[in-house]
């Protein structure tokens, strides 16, 4: 280990944040760029399933809420891209990697939003799972990322409560059709939400280094368990069930036991075979491609203005 490397690791161990101008190992930088960019892409792609119901939201309150949530996600994306740029990465280049399929985003957004109840479930389960991840990441070792997480966590908690409220309202004040809609939505999103924490620790080869660098601070399986433990009481309060016959409280462990995830599905979706992978990427690519002439015009205009100002 070089002296620089040693000093770096000592800072990490002492819980001192690494800042953009500090020396850092190339691997640390690369890992962070990959992780933050994936996180940013996920925020951006994550707007799309919700957009799908934005134009069909059933009343003013829900429409405004949903739009505000989507806007927050866009904001998170921009904020995370900025954190990523402090590591010397270029946003356009990273977005190009997203569009070419070289870099991924959270697989959860490759599942379709098929009913209004999904707007509740996505807030409750998907944002809920994300928060469990992000709460821990508030203590991540890279300063800008850590600060982004603190800010993002606050808004995500708000979204999660809002999502839960959507479902609760339908369960408590809804018709039978609405209640069935909620249960169906939970059935569809339950397992994909569980998968959001990634493979088993034993199948997650990069995790050890990330833990040592304190980029990651808790293992996939531990995070998943935490999420399940906090989610099941909420599920019961809703009056709904999970599509998992093995789910039950384990007095000895002090945790919920749960069934095995279908890892074939997980890897299928990661590989690009989820129901919406192609749609999501096509939508993002189309937006950027069709906007080329607009961005060119903005640059040309800015150049002209600069010239005018210089001449004046």
């Amino acid at each position: 280990m070089s002296p620089e490397e040693r000093a770096f690791q000592e800072k990490i161990d002492a819980e001192i944040k690494i800042e953009p101008k500090n020396w850092m190992p190339e691997g640390y930088r690369r890992t962070l760029i990959r992780q933050i960019s994936q996180h940013a892409h996920s925020e951006i792609v994550g707007m799309l399933p919700e957009k799908n119901w934005l134009t069909r939201a059933p009343n003013f309150k829900r429409k405004l809420q949903l739009l505000a949530k989507i806007q927050d996600e866009g904001g998170h994306g921009l904020y995370l891209y900025s954190a990523m740029e402090t590591l010397g990465a270029d946003r356009d280049e990273e977005v190009a990697k997203l569009h070419s399929g070289e870099v991924k985003y959270s697989s959860i957004f490759n599942y379709p939003a098929l009913s209004w109840a999904d707007m509740g479930t996505i807030g409750w389960l998907v944002d809920g799972a994300a928060i469990v991840n992000q709460v821990v990441l508030q203590r991540t070792s890279y300063g800008p990322y850590s600060r982004a997480m603190i800010r993002i966590c606050k808004e995500e908690s708000f979204h999660q409560r809002q999502g839960y409220q959507i479902l609760l309202h339908m369960m408590q004040n809804g018709t039978d059709e609405q209640k069935a809609m909620v249960q169906d939505s939970i059935n569809r999103f339950w397992w994909p939400a569980m998968m959001m924490f990634g493979p088993h620790d034993s199948d997650s080869p990069n995790s050890a280094q990330s833990m040592a660098w304190k980029i990651k601070r808790m293992s996939n399986d531990d995070l998943r368990q935490r999420f399940i433990d906090q989610t099941v009481p909420q599920l019961e309060f809703l009056g709904c069930t999970a599509p998992d016959p093995d789910l039950k409280w384990n007095e000895t462990r002090g945790h919920y036991d749960f069934g095995e995830i279908d890892w074939t599905e997980f890897y299928d979706v990661v590989k690009g075979n989820g129901p919406c992978n192609r749609d999501r990427l096509r939508t993002r690519r189309k937006a950027i491609e069709e906007g080329t002439w607009v961005r060119e015009a903005a640059s040309a205009y800015a150049a002209k203005q600069k010239q005018k100002n210089a001449a004046a």
Partner: protein
């Protein structure tokens, strides 16, 4: 026509135009030329739908208090269960998004009108209207600044963007004249100091638009061109029906359900 009837109608017009333009902008989420633009479009949509809600809430109050047609309906009822022929939004806001120049031409011509309208209504004799208008005005100042900037950027950008922007202005122009056509409702409320004077608005709008298009190196079509009209009688273009079918789907499919 009683003053309350006129007021109800007037508030629907305000609310409907805001809502329909907001809905059109919602369609653009995930589909703008840059993330920052997507965010900006979303913000404008959020403002407009919020304003629509305020206007329709007041419309519902007015109708219920005066026991006129529409009494007993909530803002949500007004927005999500009224038919195309009962909708009162300006034709300009229901036009499809088209390309980014089309979107911006529609937005700019509306924003200039909206700005002067809310400026006038901020001084309305009806304090409820004045309050909603004053709050909305702050938002619209930002909308207008942004759409003006894009008209200039695209008009005075590249050859391609200039051509697209000019086409967009020329295409949407025929829907601009309607913003200034006063009917009995407008006259009654303008005379009462409650509504805006559309003639005055017309002059203000014309001066602003002509100046900005000139700055953007764009040709400004004549105000005397043939102008489409009809929204005050609920006579829309064929585009609105499809927009409403989508927007109103859930309340229509589950009548009486609470969400």
């Amino acid at each position: 026509m009683t003053q309350n009837q006129a007021l109800f109608e007037y508030l629907l017009r305000l609310g409907d135009s805001d809502l329909i333009l907001g809905q059109r902008l919602c369609e653009l989420v995930g589909n703008a030329p840059a993330l920052e633009e997507e965010m900006a479009i979303g913000n404008v949509a959020l403002d407009l739908i919020g304003q629509a809600r305020s206007w329709m809430t007041l419309a519902a109050e007015v109708a219920s208090a005066a026991e006129i047609e529409g009494a007993g309906r909530s803002a949500d009822d007004l927005a999500f269960t009224r038919d195309e022929r009962a909708y009162r939004n300006l034709l300009i806001v229901e036009q499809a998004n088209g390309n980014f120049a089309d979107t911006m031409a529609r937005q700019y011509l509306f924003d200039v009108w909206h700005f002067h309208l809310l400026s006038a209504l901020s001084g309305s004799a009806d304090e409820r209207i004045a309050a909603i208008a004053a709050k909305g005005l702050k938002e619209v100042i930002y909308h207008l600044r942004r759409s003006s900037a894009w008209i200039k950027r695209l008009g005075d950008g590249t050859e391609e963007s200039h051509a697209k922007m000019q086409d967009a202005i020329d295409e949407i122009w025929t829907y601009s004249g309607e913003m200034f056509i006063a009917d009995e409702v407008d006259s009654l409320l303008a005379d009462a100091g409650i509504g805006a004077d559309l003639n005055q608005l017309r002059s203000l709008w014309q001066a602003d638009v002509q100046a900005l298009l000139a700055e953007a190196t764009l040709n400004c079509p004549s105000m005397d061109e043939y102008m489409q009209r009809g929204s005050k009688q609920g006579l829309h273009t064929e585009q609105l029906g499809f927009l409403l079918a989508e927007m109103q789907f859930l309340p229509r499919a589950y009548p009486g359900a609470s969400w």
